[in-house]
Symmetry: C3
Subunit: 274 residues, 3 copies
């Protein structure tokens, strides 16, 4: 929901409600939020839509994230973008998200960025309390290195790590990190699954070529490529245009065979495997 | 045996048999194969030699590797070099090697390259079955990162990791990887132990200098340098010229003292230690 | 005590004794030695000062380090700077430090640099023996990668790792290494905490700015920045000028809030956080 405020067709709560309902009908029940998306407006707008049909709450999975403080939100004299994982900050951030969303519980909650100042004990206690009080369902991290996952997982049950992962950002598939996270029981979610529009010409050509062969679109092929990875990473779709979502849904059963997967990987990397 | 087909003097099975017998007599009983070496011809030729004296089988240790599919072997429309670690592929690959070698068992079997699509459970089951059926003795990996070793070792008994390691490729000695693999119980085998002929002039000069001091050849010194590393990595000799093998054998007892080891490391790295 | 011989005002044992006493009075009881500092002269000079007032011994914590052999100390024909972690070498090195310092025990002992040839079993046995005989109190490493710490910690109780860490060398704070070492129970000591005078102009400006806001000096701010990191790294002050030490002591209670910490980190890194 990062770019929710950028879609005029979703600007009215009633329209957004229709969008959410369409998603749920099609099996897309997870909605990825963060306190900083639209400086809180994305959550508030989503909440306004939910209020129009409260029974919908039980049909959606709401994921929240916090710990990034944008420079504009920093009230200190330094006005510096920073992270904050102090217990009181995280607790207030979760409560802020709950209030904006108009719900009593985030189904999942992720630390948005790995904070170099994170105190493991303090965070574990704060998040345990939030889970215990029912304000959070399960826990995860985002943009975390394997070492962060391993350190935190000693103290907290981590369900997922949301990282950049796509044909354009596939190192974690080759150096053992995806396998290691799978082995740790940490599910990987892929943000920017289409590479944020930065796919190069050779890769775009290969995606078209594969799409033509499989009767699929380039985007469907790029998403299918992700699904073959260890642990079956789930893409976080950035676009909220319904045609894009429909496109992804229609391609959800697409499977790539091994050769096709490597053909695309090679096109993105610019060289064949060793 | 990667370059077996490049030696005219070993082109006849009888000649190759003599070579194998000489190796065994001198204590070199391990032979490093892979299904892709010579596109299978290396294994087949080795098998033809073994057939001439079947009793020799019990005196040799045969190591096989698989999972790389060269572009020329890819029958898909993409004709792409790729890896394949699906259960049926690995099982057939091992059976193909057994058939070409004319034996009933590979003493050791390595995954040739770390496959980003490797399914740990599936591979563990397939290799367990191959071990259980007696077609494979023990298991290992090749070119694997530490994370791959650690992840696989949770499910499979890994005996070794065959990696590039030489004076020219010595990072793993400094960043803790060799120590970590030793600690995991994974024995390191060193391929390209002479750096594939890419040793620079300063290193070559130092090898000659040390060789002159120790009454040894440069190659003997380079191999002795490897033997001092944690876990005593075993070199995979690339050359099958008997003089080269004889040279290595004659230098097998050569030991370098600490100062000499660092002198060579420094010559290869271009700077002294910190 | 690395640069002890560079301070004319501490050149007389009596003067150095006064310095040590001043440190102890102010709560600075740990003194960081190594056999190579001043080629042994630093330890010997410190020992000469201690001899003037033997009762002081019980009030100080003496840390020793060994395993680096400078080229000038290498008696081999190669005259090469190298590391040595053989049992007999380490034992003699510790005994040499004890003799020069004129004491019967090093409170702590660190392997100075990670030795690629280190034999874990042999080192564990040698250091165990030194601890058992009372010649060493506790053990640590210096300049070790996480893999080195993890491998050694399986065999030895490692109390600390002394690494370069400062605003100028802060990667370990971001990639999870500091958290991982804290999680392993390895306390981090920071050498070159002021970046060895290599702080860039933007960082120096930010340190001054923060110092002005907090009524502190730039050096006090840089040290306070370190103290906020996971595990509260302790700085190894390089300077032995009393004014510098006094400055650090006067700033010992200074705490930086999260925003200030990130403001300084950003000034050093040249970009804001992601």
């Amino acid at each position: 929901m990062m770019r929710l405020m950028q879609y005029p067709e979703l600007a009215q709560p009633q329209a957004l409600l229709g969008f959410i309902e369409r998603c749920v009908e099609r099996g897309l029940s997870g909605f990825d939020h963060a306190d900083i998306y639209g400086a809180g407006e994305c959550e508030a707008h989503f909440g306004a839509a939910l209020q129009l049909r409260p029974a919908l709450r039980e049909q959606v999975q709401l994921i929240g994230k916090a710990d990034i403080v944008p420079a504009a939100q920093d009230s200190s004299r330094w006005q510096v973008k920073h992270y904050n994982t102090r217990a009181d900050y995280l607790t207030q951030a979760v409560e802020g998200s709950l209030k904006r969303l108009g719900v009593e519980r985030l189904d999942g909650f992720l630390l948005h960025r790995p904070d170099p100042l994170l105190r493991v004990d303090e965070v574990a206690r704060a998040l345990d309390d939030l889970v215990g009080s029912g304000k959070i369902g399960w826990l995860g991290v985002s943009n975390a290195e394997l070492l962060h996952c391993q350190t935190l997982a000693r103290e907290l049950p981590l369900r997922c790590n949301q990282i950049e992962l796509s044909l354009q950002a596939q190192d974690a598939a080759w150096d053992g990190r995806l396998h290691a996270m799978e082995s740790e029981g940490v599910h990987v979610l892929a943000w920017s699954p289409m590479g944020g529009g930065r796919f190069g010409p050779e890769l775009l050509r290969a995606l078209d070529e594969v799409g033509a062969a499989l009767n699929a679109t380039a985007n469907q092929v790029a998403l299918a490529w992700l699904r073959e990875l260890p642990g079956k990473p789930v893409p976080i779709l950035g676009s909220l245009r319904w045609e894009r979502i429909e496109e992804a849904l229609l391609g959800a059963e697409l499977q790539l065979d091994t050769q096709t997967w490597f053909y695309l990987a090679q096109a993105a990397r610019g060289h064949e495997v060793a």
